[in-house]
Amino acid sequence: MALQRQGLNLLRRISIHGTTFTNRTDVRSYKRWVAPTLKELNIRTKKIGDTGEVKPTPRSSFLEWNYDAEVFAFGKRLGEEFNQDLLRKALMHKSYVNLQELQGNAVQSDGNTDLIKKGEDIISKYIQLELSKKYPDVIVQAIHNYLTDDNMLSHVGVHIGLKDIILTPEYPPETATIANTFKAVVAALEESSSLENCEKFVKDFVLAQLNGKEVFDIWEPEQPYKYLKGIKSDIEPRLCNQSAAKTILANYQVGIYSNKQLLGLGWGESVDVAKDMAALNVIQKIYNIK
């Protein structure tokens, strides 16, 4: 593929140079040379076994790469004032420092290990604080785990443009590395500005990942009816409706009552499923989950 693309570019250039005597580019017609040329190129590509796979090249290997400018632009892009030294420290991993020392290069930093630890604490504490205003502890813990998961944090990290400015031997950086760098960046921001500002940053980039998610997408009790029974003991399920009971598309509607008051409704393909779903509906109302 790569060869083919190069060949095509070459051909284009030649045809432009040829304009002086054949005046070909002025003619709007079928380019008859394209088909045979592509065929020939295809045959040659197959011959040398070029599979067309391109290994990802780090942006830093490009000629015009300017790390200082990139690091400076990183903070500006996010609208945050970073202390440049701290930010550089946050981006530099221990493994990178070790590698440089092995190669005999002098590095003034000793990696971002302590910043990672600090950032993790900040993110974790803030998320728990914010969520506990609204949800009970079980749900807070579940959502907290979901948000501080490596996959989630690295997703955020990649999309704020961390991938290319992390200093680490591996490329592309692993999920855990990106997640750790994100934590370190959060810590660097806290040290550069203030905790309040840093919390706003976490709110914007981490808490915002809950957008479009429902609590039950993230957390759901294993056995909802049993769980509900644990919260509220004086409940009883009643079969409210059923249809197509003898077919594969059976549908049941179960209501959960307490003191003759209907608390919640649930549907399902069997009475047990419907009972559990009704319990979920009640839990939704009790915990005020939207």
Partner: protein, 178 residues
Amino acid sequence: MSSLKRVQQWATFARIWHIYDASWQNPFQSAGLLKKYLMGTYKPIYHPLNDCGDHVVVINSGDIALPGDEWKKRVYFHHTGYPRGASWTLAWQLHKKDPTLVLKKAVYNSMDGNLQRRYTMERLHIYPDANVPADIMKNISNQLATPREVPKRLDHYSEKEVEEFPKIMDYPKNYILR
């Protein structure tokens, strides 16, 4: 998808089984009503490509009432495909052969002729009397209102009710009732 969303979907597309008592009903009027339930056009989620039609169990199709002299005048045409294979059957003859066919054909003809029609018809279960298999009876969860009220015949009134019915006048004593 959370499990609540899943069962919401399940309940939205649940098949409802309706029962319809065809006694004394006009099959052609009933066809328009049954069609709506069979195709699911009575649901706001209706779309020709989504499978939201319900089942309808029709009982007492033997007791349908055709309007006017349709029993005598309505003709069902059939052709075997061979020369001289045409046949014309009067409605009363067809009804005698199979008491479900008049209603079935009425529903079938009330729908547009597209690829869905035969599958929609599969959801219609017609029984000539009130004897419905128990398995099918267990599926039913709704009864459809009939457009016509079933009239009560004189022989269905008890003698006492007839006796007590307010009279306009008494027959003269010497009047002979045949």
